[in-house]
Symmetry: C2
Subunit: 152 residues, 2 copies
DNA sequence: CCGGATCCGTTTCGATACTG
DNA sequence: CAGTATCGAAACGGATCCGG
């Protein structure tokens, strides 16, 4: 299915389709995860992820996510060479989706996620999501540390 | 990213990756949606969906979803020609993911989802998901009708 | 008719090399 | 650091064919 835009199939206005259009391609969602949980903000940060995304794919997906208003791109104030990406409100609202996907994956696919984090996500889901927002609002863009530990 | 299996990237055991492996390709999730919300159970039912999936792609995805234990395939007792697909427990557990994706899509992408359904999903999320399970357990495989109306 | 399998042109992906 | 350019490999998807 890919991520193409001229595909004739894309006419359905099912909300699930709208979501798949945004990140049904696999890479986009990983980028959002990196931003949301891992404190990655720069082009190079994403490249260093364990999934080894190629530079051209990364550039393409960043562009698409920006066009969709899920992330925003801005030059670093202190160092003009650097570019920082951040989640917009729309992007932050993907937190519940991410959380449910992570929980499902952890339940069925034998992953390396810390059970503590998963428990936190399931037993206190709403608070967990609220904290993601809070941390973001506070401008603390570092990796998740306190109660929800590295979501890897 | 597609759905390929020999990709070198697939080594991360991040639970999100596990989930993306399952249905990060776009079509798979639509099939699950058809099963979960639209009462579609047969090969032809999926073909008739508004997204116009090709027969070869459909066959491939059904096989993959079955291999992953998300759906199960069985011949109809009354008519040996027919094949019925159904969600397994693992597949039913995708309900929260689907719901969050639908809610997000409906909030941001101007879809044709009935506001009533969306409200039901957000304001009474847990009950909504519980009802999906209940309906399924009761053997009522028809399209969703009562409180959550056509999810399109 | 139902549930696919096969063929085949087109599109997209993705690894590497290269550039500002 | 933050991307383009290139190019072979893979996936898509429409049409058609086939066994039951």
């Amino acid at each position: 299915m890919a991520v193409g835009k001229k595909s004739a199939r894309r006419r359905s206005r099912c909300p699930l389709n709208a979501t798949l259009e945004a990140f049904g391609d696999g890479w986009s969602l990983l980028i959002v995860r990196d931003l949301m949980f891992k404190g990655r903000t720069m082009f190079k940060d994403f490249l260093d992820g364990e999934e080894r995304i190629a530079t051209n794919i990364l550039a393409d997906r960043l562009k698409k996510l920006e066009a969709l208003g899920i992330i925003a791109r801005e030059r670093d104030a202190s160092d003009a060479r650097r570019v920082r990406y951040r989640l917009t409100e729309k992007g932050l609202d993907l937190a519940p989706v991410l959380v449910e996907m992570i929980v499902w994956g952890a339940r069925y696919e034998d992953t390396d996620a810390p059970p503590r984090t998963i428990r936190c996500m399931t037993e206190d889901r709403d608070r967990f999501i609220a904290e993601i927002r809070k941390r973001w609002a506070a401008g603390e863009r570092g990796a998740v540390r306190s109660s929800p530990k590295s979501t890897s």
